[in-house]
């Protein structure tokens, strides 16, 4: 199994214990409530399309800024006010990947979406959320390449 960022692994362990749909949904909503959109000091609307997550119907955007130690701070926004799942996924990725070792971020498999959201999520939602993860992974890989 890949060595994931510690906070991501913590979340995955939590969700692996969940057996009821209701409990999963309540946990995800609580995480979505913690979502903080990108601050104006980093980006303002209308956002540069280069930051858009292609394939995410909730209109998610991702930014990555380098820290002094070479790791990345990730920022997100979700323009669709009904994009609650995308907000939950963004909050998880923010907490788990900002400041985490780039090798660990680059190793994240998009399949973790199904650990969080379950297998009965619609194809569209699953795809969009996977692309959100892929956007974060891509940024980490790019930084590793250029290091």
């Amino acid at each position: 199994m890949a060595d994931y960022p510690a906070k991501l692994q913590e979340y995955l362990d939590d969700f692996n214990f969940i057996t009821s749909r209701e409990e999963r949904v309540d946990y995800l909503i609580a995480i979505a409530d913690e979502f903080q959109p990108v601050p104006p000091s980093i980006a303002t609307k209308p956002y540069d399309e280069a930051h858009r997550v292609i394939g995410c119907e909730s209109e998610a955007f991702v930014w990555a800024l380098e820290r002094a130690d070479g790791t990345l701070d990730f920022y997100f926004d979700v323009l669709n006010p009904q994009g609650l799942s995308a907000m939950a996924m963004s909050a998880i990725l923010d907490q788990a990947c900002s400041g985490a070792p780039l090798e660990q971020v680059a190793a994240i498999n998009g399949e973790v979406v199904f650990t969080f959201f379950g297998r009965d999520i619609s194809m569209g939602k699953g795809r969009g959320l996977t692309e959100l993860i892929n956007a974060v992974v891509y940024q980490a890989k790019q930084r590793l390449k250029s290091a």
């Binding site: 394939g55 009904q82 799942s85």
Partner: protein, 286 residues
């Protein structure tokens, strides 16, 4: 005040406004039902008293590619506390795409006393109306449903084949790229694709979302007529089939043609492109 009555719809009673719903939250003869794609939306906040119908776990058979049967529908209807006389008001995300899908399935069981809240969840929320996380306490009923009737508003593969052989009217409601065959699936839905790209021969392309305004409400009858009657020359008196990828987007178009424009015979082909585009021996056009 609602302007639904002034929009020229053939059957304006199938649509209600957010004002109308807000004034009837405590009406025992009405059940408000939210149906979304995003499973987090209903539990995160819904119209007070509304119940959820989930398109995956509530409307589909878990093992066959089909909708629930008589017993399943009776169990669902009883659980959400309705009787055959209850007026069911559907609303949801994505311009009511999933709400019209749920309504269409309910009509397969002849629960035709069902309406759509115009503008859906987004309009209700943007008007600053109350959303609650409190689940309503529902007293279960004992709903007795007829057998599911697929003959009236549902189309199947062989029927569609006969339909196109007699040059019947067909509306493809997918994106232009899916219609042309450039894409084998809808953007973001790669696992619901097909081995071939294109469309059913003779189909006209009108993406479903053209029937909706930016705020999720339906366009008025004149605007809809301009699209469906003038632009692609459909005849409301002729049998019409709508399809998409698995039959959900086309349920929105089915609702528009049937209830807002008054077409006499519209069927939703839920096998849609995932069946037609993958089937041996069926013709396609690009």
């Amino acid at each position: 005040m609602s302007d639904i009555g002034s929009r020229g719809y053939a059957n304006p009673d199938k649509l209600v406004s957010t004002d109308w719903v807000a004034a009837r939250l405590n009406d025992d003869n009405i059940r408000i039902v939210e149906s979304n794609e995003d499973p987090l939306l209903y539990p995160s906040g819904h119209i007070p008293g509304a119940v959820e119908v989930d398109w995956v776990k509530d409307l589909n058979d878990p093992l066959r590619r089909d909708y629930l049967g008589k017993a399943g529908f009776e169990a669902l209807a009883s659980r959400i506390g309705i009787t055959p006389d209850t007026t069911v008001i559907f609303y949801g995300d994505k311009s009511n795409w999933w709400a019209t899908y749920a309504l269409w399935v309910f009509e397969l069981f002849n629960h035709t006393n069902a309406k759509i809240m115009d503008g859906g969840r987004l309009k209700w929320a943007e008007e600053g109306r109350e959303l609650t996380r409190e689940k309503p306490v529902i007293s279960p009923t004992s709903y007795s449903a007829p057998e599911r009737d697929d003959s009236r508003i549902r189309a199947f593969r062989d029927g569609v084949l006969q339909h196109i052989q007699s040059s019947g009217q067909l509306v493809d409601v997918r994106s232009p790229a899916e219609f042309s065959g450039e894409k084998l699936h809808m953007e973001g839905y790669p696992q619901e694709g097909a081995v071939r790209g294109g469309h059913i021969p003779g189909a006209s392309s009108v993406p479903w979302s053209r029937a909706a305004n930016e705020d999720g409400t339906f366009k008025n009858a004149a605007e809809l007529s301009a699209i469906y009657l003038e632009e692609i020359d459909l005849n409301p008196a002729e049998p019409t089939v709508a399809y998409c990828r698995i039959g959900e987007r086309s349920s929105h178009t089915w609702f528009v043609l049937t209830n807002l424009l008054g077409f006499a015979d519209v069927r939703n082909y839920d096998g849609s492109w995932t069946e037609w585009g993958n089937s041996v021996g069926l013709p396609i056009e690009k």
